[in-house]
């Protein structure tokens, strides 16, 4: 089975549509969405509608958890709070119903799926350092974990007796003797200095993980956000991928 793994769409419809078109050409069997469909961008409902139709596994991200009242925005930056208040205001009852159906984690074959971190999924930890990755390997019961949250595609591999190794995203065949944390990057707000939308595929039969980048119409996405009066910082970062 070939699976497309998408995450962190962040209400960026242009980016999502571009990714979906590219996925169609890849002849995947399933699409799994790893959370944060909404937040930051200006088209949460349209993105939720698409994800709900195309994804067979849909995970809860912290931005969805905020909308459901599971996390407080007290510690958020002003930009993040403006964006989450704006999003909450725009969501319909149907949107909330879709979000309510999202799972915290999902286990399938040799994979564990989570938005942020296998270690305490509901605490939304970032996996940025080998030390943070080690905590996730301690609790991971599958050889592969796919996740998102940091908006940076990256791979951590387990090293017996030492801290995990961190590598920038690259296509690879998972070694059966090892275990991996694979961050699939962000569709709608990449932060690895590459503004193109990012996603990954995993072929469970051929044991192959591939990363993809999709060009999309960033200016249109930015113009819509300006129209929606969303914070400049969120608009500008799309063009630079940071």
């Amino acid at each position: 089975m070939k699976i497309a793994l998408i995450s962190d769409i962040h209400a960026n419809l242009e980016a999502l549509v571009s990714v979906v078109k590219q996925i169609e050409k890849l002849h995947v069997d399933e699409i799994y969405c790893l959370g944060d469909v909404i937040g930051y961008g200006c088209e949460p409902s349209a993105c939720l509608d698409i994800v709900n139709k195309i994804a067979s596994v849909k995970l809860l991200g912290n931005h969805e958890a905020v909308v459901l009242g599971m996390i407080s925005t007290k510690s958020y930056t002003e930009t993040a709070r403006i964006s989450s208040d704006w999003t909450k205001d725009k969501l319909s009852e149907k949107d909330i119903e879709i979000i309510s159906s999202f799972q915290m984690t999902h286990t399938a074959e040799d994979m564990f799926l989570v938005h942020a971190s296998p270690f305490e999924p509901d605490k939304w930890h970032y996996i940025l350092t080998p030390a943070e990755a080690s905590l996730s390997f301690d609790v991971l019961r599958k050889p592969l974990c796919f996740h998102g949250h940091t908006h940076v595609p990256v791979i951590f591999s387990e090293v017996p007796g030492d801290l995990p190794h961190k590598k920038t995203a690259h296509n690879f065949d998972p070694d059966e003797e090892s275990r991996y944390l694979v961050n699939v990057g962000a569709v709608g707000q990449p932060r690895d200095n590459d503004p193109r939308a990012c996603f990954a595929t995993y072929d469970t039969e051929f044991k192959e993980v591939c990363f993809y980048r999709s060009e999309y119409d960033i200016s249109t996405a930015q113009a819509k956000m300006t129209e929606a009066e969303l914070p400049d910082l969120l608009i500008e970062r799309l063009a630079v991928g940071r």
């Binding site: 605490k123 030390a131 943070e132 905590l135 301690d138 609790v139």
Partner: protein, 231 residues
């Protein structure tokens, strides 16, 4: 082959490497390990070996037998376990480490320090109460901590100065996640994740250490005690 190192006042007085199926410990000369001391019963305890396993059995002694500061009646020994009988300490090793080291001079006579014995029993009672209250192993806050007891009831417990860690430690030079305590099949391991030299057990730098009851963990300026809940 198993080895038992007999210590008195932190000095090694005897190293015992045996192929016997059982060794007896007591005050009188007919024991395999003779501990000449009035606080030690004539037939105080015995250790039975079976394949690679060793079990210590207290022979209803007057002052009791302690393993890693916990009073026991019968206990499976693990590598580096510390057995306390009177003022003696017997360290159990799965395999002999340093054969033929000279024992220090020891004249074999002493009087049991009852204050130390009372302290040992009191610690044992307090720690048992804590373990019973929490239903498992516990970290107690000793110095520069914001808690008195922390239950080790999850697979991974993080220690450091980041806001999101389970156990906050103080100290300028420690990492956000300085260390973790991971539950494995044979017990809790303390694993250093941050700066070298900032995670210690009983004063020694550690990278990966199987915790024993009574171990004192120091992370930066904060000190915790590991109270084991397996008994």
């Amino acid at each position: 082959m198993a080895e038992i190192v007999v210590k008195f006042d932190d000095k090694i007085i005897e190293r015992i490497v045996t192929e016997k199926k059982r060794i007896t410990i007591g005050r009188t000369n007919d024991n395999d390990v003779v501990l000449e001391n009035r606080g030690v019963s004539r037939k105080h305890a015995l250790i039975e070996f079976n394949n690679n396993a060793a079990v210590i059995i207290d022979n209803e002694s007057l002052n009791g037998t302690f393993v890693n500061r916990r009073k026991i009646t019968e206990e499976v020994l693990r590598d580096n376990d510390i057995i306390t009988i009177g003022k003696y300490q017997l360290i159990y090793h799965n395999e002999s480490t340093q054969p033929n080291e000279d024992a220090s001079n020891f004249d074999g006579t002493m009087v049991l320090n009852t204050k130390a014995q009372k302290q040992l029993l009191e610690n044992d009672r307090v720690e048992r109460e804590i373990v019973e209250r929490y239903g498992g192993s516990v970290l107690t806050g000793e110095e520069n901590t914001n808690f008195s007891e922390f239950r080790l009831d999850r697979d991974v417990v993080t220690i450091g100065k980041a806001k999101f860690v389970h156990v906050r430690a103080k100290g300028f030079f420690i990492s956000g996640i300085q260390a973790k305590i991971v539950k494995e099949d044979d017990g809790h391991y303390l694993i250093n994740l941050g700066k070298k030299g900032k995670t210690k057990v009983n004063g020694e730098d550690v990278e990966r250490h199987l915790l024993k009851n009574g171990d004192i963990i120091t992370v930066g300026k904060s000190t915790f005690k590991y109270v084991e809940g397996r008994h």
